[in-house]
């Protein structure tokens, strides 16, 4: 067989593997299932894309990141590999029929988690020779994880259904707890573990303690007066992201600022992401909705205006800095009350006890033995006054307890017991989340090395840095000399007259310097 490096060069035009890739791929080729944690931006996807090119059969990838899967299909196409396809809710019925009819032609099939509920698709897939089954973002299977996906709980059954193919579970962030949970949830698979350090040695950490929230804006203004670099500012509130973006826009008319959150329409979101990628934007004020699939190499500053709810999310967000391996800085703005906003978010994530009470007393007032009650999600959300997330949680629980079957409420003998258990579970989950938040809050107040402390619970090695480590190790933002080549947007958007602009835009083959 060809050397793996030759294949890498031939298909992906890289000369060498990055940390961990080769070891993981070797195990897979030998038919060993792997649980791997690799830091963000370390080239996780290559670990299954390369095997897909050299194996006989098909590689199936389950991924919750729709845009990421679309990006990868596109990216492979650009590299000339017309071998990948994505099956998700974006497909039209017609497209899906077409994809399903020629399924065996693809080497790499991406599935979104909800497709795992679709028996027609599963039956079609089962007819293929599946050489590798990949679970991307595998931490989503863990109920303790920060991004739990109920659909992932079906994975073990599916792996058995597919006759236990070689399985690769990938994640960027997994504590030993979550790793164990992944293994427990997938008893059909015998994993060998590949755990790689998550530490990103080119990112320095600063926590800026401020007496009250009003000082945060002032801090940002001072910061951007000194450093005009591609930056992301994370918020937990859409309104605040918007407000600060407007404030910065007015303060720095020569910088290009934007805000980004889930309420913007899809074209606006696309434009902002792409402007940022193309160095047309300097500062994006965003919620956690931004970032998936944004692989901009030169983000220099990641600022947390608000705190996320746990360390895992924080690591994922700072991981967007410095993908080019050049020096970058993470700055967290902290006030004495910094825990309040995330606490409120956690509190509103799961339904309240009163809601559970109301739901069960209504259910027990019905006689479901005569006729089951069909469920319309919107009606229930209104009736119980819950958010979509809360309803999804409730519904999923009721499905597990066989109170909901085929989307209708059916008779159940032991409603009281189920209710007690559910309330207990909610309390337990909330406690756990508060504990996770507490970890992050403690990290803000630590007097040890922030790098050490941040990765402590992941039991992975951490770099020892002489300089540019963290504020506790003597780093301060004033002494930072950012990498010289920072592509700032400047006035790239503005042209003297629309006439020249139009000419250059529509007729690039005449008027543009080609790269």
């Amino acid at each position: 067989m060809q050397q793996l490096e030759d294949i890498l060069h031939l298909y992906f035009n890289h000369k060498t593997f990055r940390l961990g890739q080769k070891e993981i791929i070797n195990d897979i080729i030998e038919g060993k299932s792997v649980l791997a944690t690799l830091p963000t931006g370390a080239g996780k996807s290559l670990c299954y894309q390369l095997p897909a090119l050299i194996t006989q059969g098909t590689v199936i990838v389950v991924s919750p990141l729709l845009s990421l899967m679309e990006d990868q299909v596109k990216q492979l196409k650009r590299q000339g590999h017309h071998i990948a396809v994505a099956i998700n809710s974006f497909n039209t019925e017609q497209e899906r029929q077409m994809i399903l009819s020629r399924l065996s032609q693809y080497k790499l099939i991406y599935l979104s988690p909800e497709m795992l509920q679709n028996q027609v698709i599963l039956d079609k897939l089962q007819k293929l020779q599946i050489d590798l089954f990949v679970i991307d973002e595998a931490h989503c299977i863990s109920q303790w994880g920060h991004e739990f996906r109920p659909d992932y709980l079906k994975l073990n059954q599916i792996i058995e259904h597919f006759n236990k193919p070689t399985t690769l579970a990938l994640t960027a962030t997994a504590t030993p707890d979550v790793q164990q949970d992944i293994i427990n949830q997938l008893p059909a698979v015998k994993f060998s573990k590949h755990i790689y350090p998550m530490d990103r040695s080119n990112i320095a950490f600063i926590v800026e303690h401020l007496a009250d929230p009003n000082q945060k804006d002032r801090y940002l203004i001072d910061l951007f007066e000194k450093f005009q670099l591609p930056s992301l500012i994370y918020f937990s509130s859409k309104k605040e992201a918007q407000r600060v973006a407007i404030m910065l826009h007015k303060q720095f008319l020569h910088l290009n600022v934007a805000y980004y959150h889930g309420d913007l329409d899809s074209t606006e979101r696309q434009l902002i992401q792409q402007q940022f990628m193309e160095d047309q934007l300097d500062i994006v004020c965003c919620t956690s909705a931004f970032g998936m699939g944004v692989d901009k190499p030169n983000i220099r500053l990641i600022i947390h205006y608000h705190l996320p709810t746990q360390i895992e999310s924080f690591i994922q967000e700072i991981g967007r800095a410095g993908r080019d391996q050049l020096s970058s800085v993470s700055i967290t703005l902290a006030t004495p009350y910094e825990h309040r906003l995330p606490e409120r978010l956690i509190d509103s994530e799961l339904p309240k006890e009163a809601v559970v009470d109301r739901m069960f007393s209504y259910l027990s007032s019905l006689d479901l033995s005569i006729q089951p009650l069909p469920i319309k999600d919107e009606d229930w959300m209104i009736q119980l006054q819950v958010t979509e997330t809360q309803w999804r949680f409730l519904k999923n629980y009721l499905i597990n307890k066989q109170i909901i079957e085929h989307n209708q409420f059916v008779e159940h003998k032991n409603l009281f017991h189920v209710k007690k258990e559910l309330i207990k579970k909610i309390k337990q989950r909330n406690r756990y989340k508060m504990k996770k938040l507490d970890e992050l809050v403690r990290w803000l107040n630590t007097d040890h090395c922030r790098r050490d402390q941040l990765y402590q619970s992941f039991s992975t090695p951490v770099s020892k840095l002489e300089s540019l480590c963290c504020d506790q190790c003597g780093f301060s933002i004033d002494q930072w000399i950012p990498p010289s080549e920072a592509n700032m947007a400047g006035n790239k958007l503005a042209k003297e007259s629309w006439k020249d602009d139009l000419k250059e835009l529509i007729l690039p083959f005449k008027y543009r310097q080609l790269e």
Binding site: S266, L271, I506
Partner: protein, 354 residues
């Protein structure tokens, strides 16, 4: 432009309707009531010029207008304008290009047309320099699929296509005010340049998101109108909607009637001149109304009567000519009722779905 448009609309319905009537009109609600309002108060050009306007944003605008003493709303929910807004409307009557708005089928054709032209420009400018490395700015799968098939037909003359596009767009944009032309160009995404967001355009021009949304909509409606007037066939595939006259679908005899009507002939004169029975000419005219959404009915029926007939259709929930005629005490001829049905029947059906 947002507030100007709202005030302008409120002025027309002053003392007669609630502010919500203007919301439905701007948003483009497909109901007989809204269409009738458009006709009755001569606001049909503004129909559907801001389809993404939320009720909350509109209400916020109305509250602003009340608080700043521009309008008063009575207990019966009728609107009255204050002297302040009358003078505002007078003062700025020439400042906003309301004449770019054409309403009706132009308005309805814009959203899809916009997506297609943006994606076509992004795609073809990249491919014209052999660059395949871009992400479509339009997520909509159906639009992406449309581009794929459009590309298949034009792949060997991409540069020619772009040159023609450039000429046509340039020819169109020079007819606009320079601010609108600039806005249009800044919004374009092409090779080596991602277009500006609505927010950015609002910031750059010290105005609101609503102002930009409406102006872009107006520019695009005017572009469709321009395409129509100048028979710019290059653009035809970019819009599915028969926003232009479908003269080709008419019978030859109806086409002849159409031409004569355009030259100012009356219905009866056409019949006698061509030796046709009057009812045949009436059939032609109904055919014309179906084919040409812009065809004026005013020579045959006035706005008020249209309103009455539409109201009757709504009340009796019946499209049978005889029922409508009887319900209205035989005030109107079958011909007049047929004209109204021809113009509004489609909308009525869609109105029921919404």
């Amino acid at each position: 432009m947002f507030y100007y448009l709202i005030l302008h609309g409120l002025q027309r319905i002053e003392g007669q309707r609630s502010p919500a009537a203007i919301y439905h009109l701007l948003q483009g609600r497909r109901s007989a009531q809204t269409i009738q309002d458009g006709n009755l108060y001569q606001l049909s050009e503004y129909f559907a010029c801001y389809p993404t306007l939320s009720r909350a944003d509109f209400n916020h605008g109305i509250v602003q207008l009340i608080e700043k003493d521009w309008i008063k709303v009575t207990a019966e929910n009728l609107v009255y304008l204050t002297g302040k807004s009358h003078s505002f409307l007078n003062k700025y009557s020439q400042s906003f290009p309301l004449h770019y708005l054409h309403g009706g089928n132009y308005a309805r054709a814009v959203p899809l047309f916009m997506k297609r032209i943006y994606l076509a420009i992004q795609t073809y400018t990249h491919l014209s320099v052999n660059n395949r490395n871009f992400d479509p700015i339009i997520d909509d799968y159906s639009v992406q699929n449309w581009i794929k098939s459009h590309y298949q037909q034009n792949r060997y003359q991409l540069k020619e296509w772009l040159i023609q596009l450039y000429d046509s767009l340039n020819g169109f944009l020079i007819t606009l005010d320079s601010y609108s032309a600039e806005l249009f160009v800044k919004r374009i995404t092409a090779y080596q340049r991602i277009g500006a967001t609505i927010q950015q355009l609002a910031w750059q021009n010290n105005c609101s998101i609503h102002d930009i949304e409406i102006r872009l909509m107006a520019i695009f409606q005017h572009l469709l109108f321009h395409i129509d007037q100048h028979h710019l066939e290059l653009f035809y595939p970019l819009t599915d909607y028969p926003f232009s006259t479908n003269v080709g679908f008419m019978t030859a005899s109806a086409q002849k009637t159409y031409q004569m009507l355009k030259h100012g002939w009356s219905k009866d004169n056409i019949a006698s001149r061509r030796g046709l029975r009057p009812s045949t000419v009436e059939d032609h005219i109904v055919e014309i109304v179906y084919a040409d959404p812009a065809f004026q009915l005013s020579a045959f029926i006035d706005e008020k009567s249209i309103g009455q007939i539409l109201e009757a259709i709504k009340v009796i929930q019946d499209h049978k000519l005889s029922s409508i005629k009887a319900f209205l005490n035989h005030q109107f001829s079958y011909f007049q009722i047929r004209l109204v049905l021809a113009r509004y029947d489609k909308d009525k059906k869609k109105g029921n779905e919404v």
